[in-house]
Amino acid sequence: MALKTVRLLLWLPLIAFVAIVALVAGGLIHPHETVVRSRLIGQPLPGFTLPRAEGGAPLTPAALADGRPHLLNLFASWCVPCAAEAPQLRRLRAAGVPIIGVAIRDRPQDLAAFLRETGNPYAMVARDDAAALQVALGSSGVPESFVIDGRGVIRYQHIGAIGPDQIALILEQLRAAR
């Protein structure tokens, strides 16, 4: 090889590295969605019958298919982020959103204490002691919220606690689900 070619070759590693940095910097500047969307979006709720924490008729998908969009919120008294989420749920409630709570693997007395402390934001609370609904929904943890439209079809999945700056997003999803 001519000496000039060799000299040029020496810069190749640097050029390759610059390309990698540019690529990665691009990825940083435009972060892509890291949350894996549920496959259940656009599908009706799976069938379930859960006992109500307040007593009365058990919760079934029919309760959510009354023509209005609902927010279905999976939570638990033992879950620290759920307590952090409570103020946002109260604000959503104040905005007129019917929120259905499902307590995952909870004990009745803990649940009652939790609802007293956080100022119960729920229109109804059902108990899912075996996490059956959670499994059926493909949910990976608590808290997790689903926007359900008036016909009981899942429209949006929110993984993790709803933050103060995400209330507008949730309200928009509920409007879109009307």
Binding site: P13, L23, V24, L28, H32, W78, G141
Partner: protein, 644 residues
Amino acid sequence: MIAEAGLIALWIAASFAALQTVLGFAGLRAPAPPRLLGGISLIQAVATLAAFAALLLLFARTDLSVRLVAAESASTLPLLYRVAGAWGNHEGSMLLWVTILAVSGAAVALFERRLAAATLAATIGAQGLIALGFFGFLLFASNPFARLDPAAPAGLGFNPLLQDPGLAFHPPTLYVGYVGLSVAFSFAVGALLARDVGPAFARAMRPWVLGAWTFLTLGITAGSYWAYYELGWGGWWFWDPTENASLMPWLAATALLHSVTVLATRDGLRAWTVMLAVVAFSMSMVGTFLVRSGILTSVHAFALDPRRGGVILLLLAFYVGGALALFATRIATVQAGAQFRPVSREGALVANNLLLSALLGVVLIGTLYPLAAEALTGEKLSVGPPYFNATAGPLALLLVATMAAGPLMRWRREEARALARRLVVPGLVLAAALLASFWAAPDLSILPRLGLTLAAGLAVASVAPLAGRRLRRTPLFTWGMVLAHLGCAVSLAGMASESGFSAETLAAARPGETLHVGPFAVRFDAVDPVAGPNWTAVRATLAATRGGAGAALRLAPEQRTFDTPPRQTSESAIATLWDGQLYTVLGERVPDGRWQVRLWWKPFVTLIWAGGALIALGGVLALIGRARPRRRPAPEREGFAPWR
């Protein structure tokens, strides 16, 4: 007060790193007294250690007024995981990284006596500059000692997947490896700056490369075994970005390890060795960055905000880009080293280096491809095991062939005939293994069959350099090489056996039913609830008998539910037998009351990790052999022992 003391220690360490950088680089013209540089780097190391000790103490006490502790730990955790939690998060792991870095820098400054004064000073300066960047990052962008006011009422907990003794010690092992590579990088920068690339530089760098490579080997082996038993998917390598992040520097370090030997003993491959030193460290930074920045999705997902990711990227660009530019401008002024014929020990090592580099390229491309595809087409996709297996598999098998032949060659030039004579026995073993495999397993697919036969040939070729030698007088580093190559053969046999002979059963079963997998009958006895310190679980009781006779093996796989943070993990139960492992996982409950049960029979799968341990042991022996003073002056005499 502990947190503030830690922060002050960090500032002290940073200012001494700055001093070390300035004095080190100034030493290119007028070297400072070695004692002065040694003292400065020692103070830096002690201050960093103090900062890390402060963080450990805060985590051990679960001081919830510290933001990091509140976010990453909980007082309900067992002590081991409270302490391991200190480095199980972004800030803590960066502090651990820089602690190991500062300690290694001090070791170089205090004990390195083989290098010319200017080269050593520049090396220490480069090491100071690397440390300085990370101190700056910790102090300005990700302070591990930041307070939380008011203090949190409870900690958010520690990722349950990481609550495992293996994982508690896995990151430190890998970090020691990465930092060892950073020392090799500093040596390369120092040698380029001082225009002093030669055997002395290679001998100074070699123990660090050997050490780094040994720790990386251990880290990867342990990580693979952890993924195997903890994630419950029954596999041992998934080509996950996190796995690749540790594999890429390992591949580069393996190539470097071999080329640095050529440079140290034969004064060949000068430019190539410097290049590999830069690449190996770059790969450890690129890999860590990719995983830590959350740019690529991985099971380990250490999400990081883009601002911090940007700072790390700038550091990376500065160090690696600077070193590559230095390489491009300086390496032409480095004199070419000694020449050799293509068929020679050096030639085999060059082939090994090229194959390893190709393998590295293939893994790097596969890891970055999803990112590139998304940037170009906006489409999200992932490159899975099929790509990696198809591309890396054949390259790895070629590599095995050079690994078998290389150590049987002489330095500088080799007679093709003499080499062929030495390859007769391994060749015969290979042929016999191939025939035996057709007789024992006629339906085996091609890659496992090739893997098994090559493993047999490699095993024999690996120990061949010991033939006809007086074993007690054989140098330790020769033993190290033999063991490491033998370890590769053992691992390869395990991989081939696992992929060729595994049996799997997935069934929904009721207690009382019996399932079958491989030679085993597995009775599903019961499912019971159990409680642990910070989790609850359902536990299955299984009784396995081989061929339906003999004493039953008891297995108890679990599904655990952790509270803080809420998460489910499946704890597989594994019975290890002399000829393989019976691997059981309890899955979800099916609505009709049955339970999903997964069973695998994996013949000789343990050889994969036994081989890894053997490779690491080889590294340790070679390291001891290199560190001990030599008794005989010229061990590399021409024509005496070809495998030296």
